[in-house]
């Protein structure tokens, strides 16, 4: 299986073994002092997919469908004292040809809270941190925290920058302040310049990246302001991303500035919730080659979805979603895609979830390219997905 679209490559990192040692150490330290706390968590989920039109996570168009979608993680949080804690999570994901099940460090950071009072707090996280973006990016791989098995296109890697979006090695500043009827959180990640795999570059520029070369993401910046109004009955947020991707090989050099502004809105009633998010992606690129010459390009893409949840009872929730993406504003007919989703989530016991959903899609940005290599991508797809998850 290839490594396309995977997160940080395990071979590049010593984070994993370090995290395991740290978790073991934390568990032993907790015995000594009641002020210290340690809590572990984890989950595992397995999906079944059956589709018509295109493949999703394995050969899902086969008569017997695909089981190639699996996610699992184990992590912990250790609070040393009132201002210092450590958090980490190891994660594995198999998703057809788009992810290969390798175990990687999802996040591992020290959290230093330098201000804490009744109405506000501020702190800094150092290490590998999860990036804030929209409602769900920071927990996008957890069945129990996302709004559906397959996320709306707002979170998709339609632009090939999934790897850059998950987590960053860097510094995260955060804070919150509570007002009369709101709690507002600010989170901002300053990532260090990171080398990235040429396969990610392939996703952006076709197979040109496989010629070999150096690729880097320069100083990614994530920032988010999220406000919970009336105890979370309203949630309103703005997220920003800014980063530059550079690539160099003997044949050409290229640079891509990506900038995203996303708006998030949620209204929660006792039985109903309405969730909507919009994003605007601006790309500006430069390309220079001694053989072809130099040129610049730019594009703007948009995405919008609206989802309604209905909680029939404590155990059962139904939802419906309409999701539209415009890959390039100047070519709406050629790059538009629409996905309509109906689904349900059932929690038969505290630690278990069974989810199922049907997607009807027109357009190709929803389709994982790597699962359909060597065949023409069809304009329409219908997908049935079912996923069983366990958490602790």
């Amino acid at each position: 299986m290839n490594n396309k679209l995977t997160g940080h490559q395990p071979s590049k990192s010593l984070w994993g073994p370090l995290l395991l040692v740290a978790l073991a150490l934390c568990a032993s330290l907790v015995q000594a002092d009641t002020d210290r706390t340690f809590k572990m968590h984890g989950f595992a989920s397995q999906a079944f997919l059956y589709s018509k039109g295109n493949n999703f996570f394995g050969d899902s168009t086969d008569d017997d469908g695909s089981f190639e979608y699996f996610e699992a993680a184990i992590g912990g949080q250790y609070r040393h004292n009132s201002w210092l804690s450590l958090s980490g999570q190891l994660f594995s994901r198999d998703a057809g040809a788009t992810d290969n099940g390798s175990i990687r460090t999802d996040y591992f950071y020290a959290d230093m809270r330098f201000v804490q009072n009744f109405n506000s707090a501020a702190g800094v996280r150092v290490g590998r941190v999860r990036n804030p973006y929209g409602f769900y990016n920071s927990t996008r791989d957890v069945l129990f925290t996302r709004p559906s098995i397959m996320l709306p296109q707002h979170y998709y890697d339609g632009f090939g920058i999934r790897e850059l979006f998950f987590s960053a090695d860097g510094i995260q500043l955060y804070g919150y302040w509570d007002g009369d009827n709101h709690s507002t959180t600010f989170t901002s990640t300053y990532g260090r310049t990171d080398e990235i795999s040429s396969s990610t570059f392939d996703n952006l520029f076709g197979s040109a990246g496989s010629a070999g070369g150096d690729a880097e993401l320069r100083k990614p910046l994530f920032a988010q302001i999220m406000s919970d109004i009336n105890g979370g009955l309203w949630k309103i947020g703005v997220s920003l991303f800014d980063g530059t991707l550079n690539f160099r090989n003997p044949q050409f050099t290229a640079g891509l500035d990506a900038n995203i502004v996303a708006l998030s809105l949620q209204r929660n009633f006792q039985r109903f919730s309405i969730i909507s998010e919009y994003s605007l992606l601006s790309l500006e690129g430069t390309f220079a080659s001694p053989f072809i010459g130099a040129f610049n390009f730019s594009s703007k893409g948009e995405s919008l979805y609206v989802q309604t949840d209905y909680r029939q009872n404590n155990a059962l929730t139904w939802f419906a979603r309409v999701d539209n993406q415009l890959g390039d504003r100047t070519d709406p007919n050629g790059t538009d895609s629409l996905v309509v989703t109906l689904g349900g989530r059932w929690i038969p016991a505290k630690n278990w979830m069974l989810a199922a959903e049907v997607h009807g899609a027109r357009g190709t940005s929803f389709v994982p390219q790597a699962d359909n290599e060597g065949q023409n991508i069809k304009e329409r797809s219908e997908v049935f997905v079912m996923m069983l998850g366990y958490r602790f």
Binding site: R79, R113, N119, R130, S138
Partner: protein
């Protein structure tokens, strides 16, 4: 033309009125008998009452230490327990599922710890009584109008030097 105008105008109004009636009926507070009272470990240097904002900060995991440095330990009942529902609606003024989603977000990002869940009101009472820095809720004894109740021995107070 006018008649047509009238008819087509009334339909949306009726639909909106129906929708409003439906939404207000479904979002009305659950009319059960549970009457929660806040309980705190006696070691916590707490003021006579805590504001809804502060309670939200505590029960949503934002406020992790008391001003004297003692870690905040939150204990709750299961999501569908009538007392938990009532506590969420009257003290935090939110729905249990909103709080639960928030705890999951904290847990899986490592940004905070979800409260410890216990099965019964008796266990909750015992946990709060025995754990320094603990906060939870109990069934209010009829006639007791105090906003909160301190449990346990003041000797368990470990760091309660700063009063506020």
């Amino acid at each position: 033309m006018l008649a047509l105008f009238k008819r087509s105008n009334q339909a949306p109004f009726r639909a909106i009125a129906l929708l409003v009636a439906f939404l207000s009926a479904t979002s009305a507070l659950a009319a059960d008998e549970a009457d929660p009272q806040l309980i705190l470990n006696a070691g916590v240097a707490a003021p006579p009452s805590l504001s809804a904002n502060t309670l939200r900060a505590i029960f949503s995991g934002r406020m992790q230490t008391w001003p004297d440095g003692t870690p905040v330990k939150v204990f709750v009942l299961p999501e569908n327990h009538p007392l938990h529902k009532r506590f969420c609606l009257t003290y935090l003024r939110t729905f249990p599922y909103v709080l639960k989603n928030h705890w999951d977000q904290l847990t899986f990002t490592g940004a905070g710890m979800a409260p410890e869940e216990v099965a019964t009101t008796y266990q909750l009472h015992q946990k709060v009584k025995a754990t320094p820095g603990a906060i939870g809720y109990a069934n209010r004894v009829p006639g007791n109008t105090e906003p909160l109740k301190l449990l346990g021995n003041f000797d368990t107070q470990t760091k309660g030097k700063t009063r506020f």
